[in-house]
């Protein structure tokens, strides 16, 4: 096995230059100029999204000629139609119907061809800066590139997309759980930071109070499933006797959202998520009750009260994407390029353990044995000998199960 590091990007990259593209999905008007300073809520570009009208061949749906089909239309031109609404029906033996595939206005119907047209209302779209920084480049008709010196922290998975807000530390330490009683009005419009696990109830309380996002150490899978509205995930729900309960909703690779459904956590078909689309959750360590790595927590907590940009997007395959937290720094900060800050594993380095049994614990490298060796489990791979920071316990850990901390 190779000594090549799996993700050559560090979890924490302090004082680097972050550049982010802010782009419209369709051409529009760019509202900023190169060199301009932007605030997170500034709109960089805007446009309107007019969707293509949908054509429905009513004659084919009813299996009739155009003139016969026209007699069976149930909706007049100009009427509003719902998705799935029957717009024409052929009765009697061998009944067939024609349904509206989208919601909109039945804007046209041509009796000679029996083609109905449904027009959908156009929607405004805009690209926000989400980041306090400087516009360095323009993308004509689409958007701009915003740059800022920043500290970048990566999580393991998240819920939601891009958001920004003031960082508010709500737990006393990296191991304190985020419980509903810790949540008060100070989280409104803010990004809350807590060290331990977070519960569905606490997350719902945050949403009630208008929080924009949460950064937590961990979350139990049942709590996340409960938060996402997976049926059967509440503690009170009766477990089915077969044991095939809410766990079946973690199915990956089959979903409707791009990248072959590898967006995490998966959306359940047919169930609308109770999570508001602009709310973001970022989990730093993983599932279970695992405290955040103290180093990561302390680094972020030092920026309490500052504006941060977060992105919860997580995709495991087909275009890998991990959630990130960008903490913009003063423009005078000396920065370096991210490539130069790659992790260096050596004797004495501080590392973070990733295997489920020791997830999130900090340790120090005591030695790097040459060649593959047996880890605690007996599996043979390149290993490191480490000592746990908390207890001093010595372990032999596969190299793929450690992450170098800067």
């Amino acid at each position: 096995m190779s000594l090549y590091y799996p993700i050559p990007q560090p979890t924490i990259a302090a004082n680097i230059l972050v550049r982010r593209e802010r782009r419209l999905p369709v051409p529009g008007e760019v509202l900023v100029r190169a060199g301009q300073r932007v605030e997170p809520s500034d709109v960089v570009a805007q446009s309107t999204l007019s969707l293509e009208p949908v054509h429905i061949n009513v004659a084919a749906d009813l299996d009739l000629s155009a003139s016969a089909a026209s007699k069976r239309m149930l909706v007049n031109t100009g009427a509003l139609v719902e998705r799935g609404q029957v717009i024409a029906q052929r009765g009697g033996f061998g009944t067939r119907v024609s349904r509206a595939p989208v919601a909109g206005v039945l804007s046209n119907y041509d009796p000679s061809t029996a083609i109905a047209v449904i027009t959908m209302p156009s929607e405004p779209v805009s690209a926000q800066a989400h980041l306090k920084g400087i516009v360095t480049d323009l993308i004509p008709y689409y958007g701009a590139i915003v740059e800022t010196p920043a500290t970048l922290v990566r999580g393991v998975f998240g819920v939601g997309g891009e958001q920004h807000g003031v960082l508010k530390v709500i737990t006393a330490g990296s191991d304190e759980a985020i419980t509903p009683d810790l949540i008060d009005a100070k989280v409104t419009y803010a990004i809350a930071l807590g060290g331990g696990e977070v519960t569905a109830e606490a997350l719902r309380r945050m949403i009630e109070l208008g929080a924009r996002g949460v950064i937590a150490g961990s979350i139990r899978s049942r709590e996340l499933a409960n938060f996402l509205g997976y049926p059967g995930a509440r503690q009170a729900d009766h477990e089915p006797p077969t044991g095939m309960g809410w766990e079946r909703y973690w199915r990956l690779g089959a979903g409707t959202v791009g990248s072959n459904g590898w967006v995490f956590p998966p959306a359940v078909p047919g169930i609308s998520s109770p999570v508001p689309p602009d709310f973001v959750l970022i989990v730093m360590e993983g599932f279970g009750s695992v405290p955040m790595c103290p180093r990561t927590f302390e680094l972020m907590a030092a920026y309490d009260g500052q504006e941060v940009a977060i992105d919860g997007t997580t995709r495991l395959r087909g275009g890998l994407a991990r959630p990130e937290i960008i903490i913009p720094l003063a423009r005078t900060t000396a920065v370096r390029w991210l490539e130069e800050s790659g992790p260096r594993l050596a004797v004495g380095t501080q590392v973070r353990l990733l295997s489920p049994s020791y997830l999130g614990q900090m340790a120090q490298v005591l030695g790097l044995p040459v060649g593959p060796r047996a880890a605690q489990s007996g599996v043979i791979s390149p290993v490191a000998d480490v000592a746990l920071a908390a207890t001093g316990q010595k372990l032999r850990v596969p190299l793929v199960d450690i992450e170098v901390l800067e």
Binding site: Q9, V97, R222, S259, R317, P356, P398
Partner: protein
């Protein structure tokens, strides 16, 4: 059948005219490189290396991972194989460079597939078997008989609301998880046409909507699966009307009917059409594929196709009825080659890293937990699995993590076996279902988990637990592991140089775990422990040298190892107890090995699995965990003193059983084999003396 298949069947030698061969296998997590060359006057395996696959960011190009693996191979062999960033080809007189570069891959995402059939249990099952022969993910299935489960009332018939509701419902089902391909089947040749037209109408409506959604997504720079294509493998008389009903689906691939008559099945044409689609549509999606395909000789081969060739080779060349299993990061494959069947099952979305969430979702936590020798809650298991899914490259750090991976691997293989048996319920789970005939006498395991397994006994037990081998044909099953993971490379090499591939396979590929003897049959609950001790299931007399024999009685419900080293063979006399039989023998009939057909030893030894077939795990959790610990100890799969207590998820100490069962750690002497006979650390798997014997 291609040229290689014919050559394999005829055993025709191929003259190898090349020197060094570099073969890479690109998985979803790891890229493995192997090098073969002429050593002395024979082809041999020289070295192998491995690097992380780089299909995903930040590299977004699999060739980076290939390059890393080749550079490591250079370090291991001390031979120069690259020049700047290019492969050094052809081989030079000083030994540097290579003559042939070939590649296999399983890194491409599986084809998302819907099976649409007239009848779920006839045409649907045949279509399902065709669908599972390559890397597919079965997202849903629609059958007409499902629609007929609730018979419409007279009024509903009048307004036909039941039919329209069914169409709408099936359309929604298709749209919820949009497929790339719809495999349509149904009707015997020249049978009724109307049901297929009705099925096509449902598909057409959903396909049109799926196409519209994709267009909408493309307008806002997003991606969504476009209109699916349809493989039609049903009654050909219906093709014209089905094609009309399927409009606007324009891409319809016509293959032979999977069920030309009610009692005949031909899945190969539909399976080939799917394999072709996977190669043409999915494999090029792997980032860097086009560059890699210019480097390689021939084309890049799907890993499962190369593995299937090896299973065929073992059957046709050696007459060994073979089951080859591969538990990978994203997919699980089983290849069976025997006198009656030549079949592959590829579960394209069930594996031990990326595929673990699907494995949990489809098998359920209860099934997985019952293979653990310690207590764990379903919620903790789900947390553990999801942590592995979000960090797929991790390796098990503790014995507890390893036991969890092995439990999941057992369930992946059970799912594969169930598919291979034609979808009947898994054997042995609470006595459900009876297994149809699945004859094989050679069981070969490959894939990262099995190849890197720390103890040979763990591999043997994992395979026996999950596959429930019976030795139906010969009365015994030989177990082997591909610890060097050469099978995909050799299957691919066989298409270029069969003689070289078969020579290397015979000498360098397999490590023998041993031979398993399995008395078939089981005892009813009330007879299991009459009088306190379980009755004897089988008595075996082992003769390692002429005149020196040893007789062992094996009680029902236990698994025992009789020492037999890899270099040893033994003549056996196997006397099953009344009600039990060996292979296809009569119940209670004694079986003896013929001279020259003595059984082979291995790193584990001679394994006697007297747990019954089909075997059931005890329902009581404490008794079950106790039994699992005893079985693990018997095969030296349990490290001495292991309590599985390490890490923050450590469970409380299990309470001593109160129902008369033996305490978990009390090991009956008959089940404890001498340590030296049972292999040891995995390095032993690489000992020269354990290899070199052909199958």
């Amino acid at each position: 059948m291609n040229d290689t298949d014919e050559a394999i069947q005829q055993g025709a030698p191929t003259v190898a005219t090349v020197g060094a061969v570099l073969a890479v296998d690109i998985g979803s997590l790891y890229t493995r490189a192997a090098m073969f060359d002429v050593v002395g006057d024979e082809y041999r395996f020289v070295a192998r290396s491995s690097a992380n696959s780089t299909a995903e960011g930040p590299n977004n190009d699999v060739t980076a991972g290939v390059y890393n693996a080749v550079r490591e191979l250079e370090q291991v062999t001390g031979r120069k194989l690259t020049e700047e960033t290019r492969l050094l080809m052809p081989q030079r007189t000083d030994g540097t460079g290579i003559d042939l570069f070939i590649a296999t891959t399983s890194a491409a995402p599986a084809l998302r597939l819907v099976v649409a059939a007239v009848s779920g249990d006839i045409s649907g099952e045949s279509a399902m078997r065709a669908a599972r022969s390559t890397y597919t993910q079965l997202v849903s299935s629609i059958t007409l008989d499902e629609g007929l489960l609730e018979l419409p009332t007279e009024e509903e018939v009048l307004f036909n609301t039941a039919a329209t509701a069914w169409l709408q419902n099936e359309g929604d089902k298709l749209l919820a998880l949009p497929p790339d391909v719809v495999l349509m089947s149904g009707g015997v040749d020249n049978g009724p046409v109307a049901p297929l037209v009705r099925l096509a109408t449902a598909i057409s409506g959903a396909a049109r909507e799926q196409g519209r959604r994709a267009e909408e997504a493309a307008r806002v720079n997003k991606s969504a699966p476009g209109m699916p294509l349809v493989i039609f493998a049903g009654n050909h008389a219906a093709l014209e009307r089905v094609a009309q009903a399927l409009a606007p689906v324009s891409e319809i691939i016509e293959t032979a009917n999977v069920r030309p008559t009610l009692d005949t099945e031909q899945i190969a044409p539909a399976a080939n059409a799917l394999a072709k689609l996977y190669k043409e549509r999915r494999m090029p999606e792997v980032t860097g594929y086009s560059v890699l395909s210019r480097w390689v000789e021939g084309s890049i081969v799907p890993t499962a196709e190369a593995e299937r060739l090896i299973a065929r080779y073992l059957y046709h060349h050696y007459g060994r009825e073979t089951l080859l299993v591969d538990v990978g990061a994203t997919s699980t494959s089983l290849m069976l080659a025997n006198a009656e069947r030549d079949e592959a099952v590829v579960l394209g979305d069930m594996g031990l890293a990326y595929g673990m969430a699907n494995l949990l979702a489809q098998r359920g936590p209860a099934n997985i937990l019952c293979w653990l020798p310690f207590e764990m809650s379903a919620d903790d298991l789900t947390d553990w699995v999801l942590n592995k899914v979000v960090r797929p490259w991790g390796l098990p750090q503790t014995a507890r993590d390893l036991a969890l991976e092995h439990a999941l691997a057992r369930e992946a293989l059970i799912a594969g076996m169930s598919a291979l048996q034609g979808g009947v319920p898994s054997p042995g789970r609470n006595g459900s279902g009876s297994a149809p005939s699945m004859r094989y006498d050679l069981l070969v395991g490959t894939g990262g988990l099995l190849a890197h397994i720390p103890r040979p006994g763990q591999a043997a037990l994992l395979l026996l637990d999950a596959l429930q081998s019976t030795g139906e044909g010969l009365g015994s099953v030989e177990l082997a592991l591909d610890t060097t993971m050469l099978i995909p490379a050799l299957g691919n090499l066989a298409q270029h140089h069969l003689a070289a591939a078969s020579y290397i396979f015979d000498r360098d590929c397999l490590v023998w775990l041993g031979t398993a003897i399995v008395p078939r049959g089981y005892l009813l609950e009330n007879r299991k422990a009459a009088g306190g001790t379980p009755p004897t299931a089988v008595t075996i007399t082992v003769e390692r040298k002429r005149g020196e024999s040893e007789t062992v009685e094996i009680p029902y419900g236990s698994i025992t190892v009789i020492p037999l080293r890899p270099d040893q063979r033994a003549a056996l006399t196997v006397k099953p107890a009344p009600g039990f039989r060996i292979g296809n023998g009569e119940p209670g009939k004694t079986v003896k090995t013929e001279p020259g057909q003595e059984v082979k030893g291995g790193l584990v030894g001679l394994i006697v699995d007297a747990r019954g077939r089909p075997f059931e795990l005890p329902a009581d959790a404490d008794v079950r965990r106790g039994s699992i610990r005893r079985w693990w100890s018997a095969l030296d799969a349990l490290p001495t003193g292991e309590t599985f207590q390490t890490g923050p998820f450590a469970p409380p100490e299990p309470a001593p059983p109160t129902n008369g069962a033996e305490p978990p750690d009390a090991l009956p002497t008959s089940e404890t084999a001498p340590a030296e006979a049972q292999g040891g650390e995995a390095q032993a798997a690489h000992d020269a003396d354990s290899q070199g014997a052909n199958p």
